[in-house]
Amino acid sequence: MFHRHVTRDLSAYCQGELSPERARQVALHLEGCASCREEHEEIEAGIYLAEHLPAMFAPADLWKSVERGLEQGRPEPGRPALLSILPGLRPLVATLIVVLSVAALWYYAQPRRSPAFEVDLNAYLHAVETAADSAGETAVASAPNGFADSEVSQALAVAGIGHVASRSPLAGFRLVSHRIRQVGEGSAAQLVYRRDGGAFAVFVARDPVVFSFGRREVRATKINGVSCHEVDCPRTSTLWFEADGFHCVLVSKSREREKLGAMVSYFASAHRTRGGL
């Protein structure tokens, strides 16, 4: 006689997913156990209800979206991996992987100095992502560690947009904060644009100064045709992109693609035109 309760197996039992022997044991137990029978009725009701769960129709224009995605310069489909075409390469590649792994282990085992020209925005992003909804814009506009208020012309020069700064990147948004941080022999700028109910912070630095984001995941994407990377920062839009030797990081609570795209395009095109000056 099977004495232990069988509640864990009741769904599988009702849906024919148990082995015949186990199903027999459950059936036998139910005959003699009122609490499991009660549970069984409840689960049968749940199954009956779940069987009404509807499927959905995808939007009619979805194929167009997919086609756009396919045409945004992504790799051709269906190409088999190189190794399947050239099986003779496999031992060579395996050896190379081993050699590189050993070299990497040796390299990382060496005592390291922190990069001289790196601006780590991880703490700043943490403050932005954890800010209460009502304080999100304030967090975006706040100064990360090491950034200090500066003359607007100085910040714009560091950001490489002095020649186009008279044109606002977004209608209605004004440049309200301009800060600089010295980074080794270089510098990085933070520009904050605001209007009622919205704020964008743009960090800009020129090679060799770079930005880092702790251990956050970074994913390649494209916006307004500009290749950039989306940095994992919950409830926040954080885009990192490069243009002509300038590294830019856009941070905002806004999820509006149009506005984000406008900001990215502004900085990307400004740096390209600067390169030609």
Partner: protein, 187 residues
């Protein structure tokens, strides 16, 4: 279109045949969208995720070696894309689709208003489940996968699938018991 798509169609797609890919898209668009919608709870996100899934599918179909059902492989791609989107946005917006459930669901074609009403209430109750419980329910009842297939999609054991479905059934049974007429379960 049968649940496991014709191997020839997959072969065409692996050769980069856009017409073949369009046919594959038409076969799976609603199913992928349904999963994305139930996972994300947001129409706009579901559309974005579905688009991303098919773009990835087109890029990666060369990786499909036929050592699993194509459906399972595709569903895993959907799940992973949904998880990526979830990590990016870290939000679960209430299922706004429900406001238009009669337009959005296939049940809207049914003459049986009671069935459609139950469908809407069940959909609302399922959306309130945690993702861990919601996904097996959707895969079981919308995609009609077995416990074994659900386990393959979710990357867990069949026992875990059974346990999660058990909890989900119990929750639905308790919340919506009043909708079940005596004898309706037929078991």
């Amino acid at each position: 279109m049968p649940r496991n798509v014709d191997a020839r169609l997959i072969g065409q797609c692996q050769q980069g045949d856009r017409e073949g890919f369009r046919a594959l898209f038409e076969a799976y668009r609603d199913r992928v969208y349904t999963l994305a919608a139930y996972f994300s709870g947001d129409e706009a996100t579901a559309k974005d995720v579905t688009q991303e899934v098919f773009v990835k599918l087109f890029q990666r179909i060369g990786d499909f070696r036929g050592n699993s059902l194509f459906d399972t492989w595709l569903y895993r791609l959907v799940m992973n894309t949904c998880m990526d989107e979830r990590r990016r946005s870290r939000r679960f917006v209430p299922l706004q689709l429900l406001t238009g459930v009669n337009q959005m669901t296939r049940e809207s074609h049914e003459q049986d208003r009671m069935r459609a009403e139950i469908a809407g209430l069940v959909q609302a109750a399922v959306k309130r489940l945690t993702p861990k419980l919601r996904l097996p329910v959707v895969l079981r009842y919308v995609e009609e996968l077995s416990y074994e297939e659900i386990a393959a999609v979710l990357g867990c054991s069949q026992g875990t699938v059974a346990s999660r479905l058990n909890r989900a059934h119990r929750i639905l049974g308790r919340e919506l018991r009043h909708l079940v007429a005596p004898g309706a379960t037929g078991r």
